[in-house]
Amino acid sequence: MSSSHEAAPSQDFLAEEVRRYHHFIVLALWLAVVTGAEIVLIFLPIPVAAILTILTLMSAGKFFAVILWFMHLIYDKRLLFWCFFAGLALAFATYAAMIMLFSVDRIDTRWFS
């Protein structure tokens, strides 16, 4: 699985790890606050379209915060980001294509029942 006879990490590397450690703590607190805000938001008496837009932005923010910092994409090679982004783009494209194919105003759901 791995070999243990390797050189100890350099001072620069350790300093970088300590800096990341603080980023992780701040991010964890931020994620907890945003999740709390999402729960409060759904019970607020404001238009549904506005809530839906804010919820989408909040979850997209949480999603990218986790992949960029917790998953180290911001520190790693760009290639990894594009590899993952390709899958993500295809996933969204699938949803968009299905929305268009199954436009609810035109489909006859009696077929299924």
Partner: protein, 222 residues
């Protein structure tokens, strides 16, 4: 990319460890997999907003079944497990094996709590009459959240094995840190999928008096 990352560049044509590259490609493919499941659930919710019929023949709505407190708690637990996983990876990079073990135990514990919540939720829904067979909603909901739960269970097993493996003394150095980082990538992925499921499957059901999809009942003019 930072200088410290460059100092640990792998001797490959891309400069990225093959294990790590393969893991990211797997996650990209898993993204498409979950994208399809989430799309299917959302589309069928829109096409069949009526919910399900329980064993006694009563029409039931999912809005009355979901428990936002429980799901929020599960979400919080999973987010915090992701935080602990990031700390575990950081500890391994610094060569602090004891700190790694502590954090991984935390991740395992939180993962088990999440799974416990899901088992409770599934059992509750089943007793309320929502089964995988009696409605389109049941089929898409159980398949989606069940697949996610299976991913969590696999992650927990992986981390348990890694925890015990660390006692053999073979989980050390750069390669050991890489192995932990790859397990961490998988765990974080499970977390980001839940971030989407939490919003797209659970929270949207609370928007408006009857959820975003409505009840499927004809609108009566007042």
């Amino acid at each position: 990319m930072s200088d410290t990352a460059a100092a640990h560049e792998a001797p490959t044509s891309t400069g990225i460890d093959h294990k790590k590259l393969i893991m990211w490609l797997f996650l990209a493919s898993d993204c498409m997999f979950f994208g399809t499941l989430i799309s299917t659930h959302l589309l069928y919710r829109k096409l069949f907003p009526a919910g399900f019929t329980d064993a006694e023949g009563h029409q039931r709505f999912i809005q009355n079944l979901f428990n936002v407190e429980l799901t929020s708690f599960s979400t919080f637990i999973l987010l915090m497990s992701s935080f602990l996983m990031a700390l575990a990876v950081s500890a391994m990079h610094k060569g602090q094996i004891k700190s790694f073990r502590r954090n991984v135990l935390g991740v395992i514990f939180f993962g088990l709590i999440f799974l416990g919540c899901q088992v409770y939720e599934f059992t509750h829904f089943y007793h309320e009459g929502l089964t995988i067979q009696n409605s389109v909603l049941g089929s898409t909901f159980y398949v989606l959240t069940g697949t996610h739960g299976t991913h969590v269970a696999i992650g927990v097993l992986w981390l348990i094995m890694m925890y015990f493996y660390s006692f053999t003394g073979k989980l050390g150095g750069h390669m050991g840190a890489l192995d932990v980082e790859i397990a961490g990538l998988y765990w974080h992925f499970v977390d980001i999928v839940w971030i989407i499921i939490f919003t797209a499957v659970y929270l949207v059901e609370y928007l408006g008096p009857n959820g975003i999809w409505g009840t499927g009942l004809p609108v009566v003019a007042k």
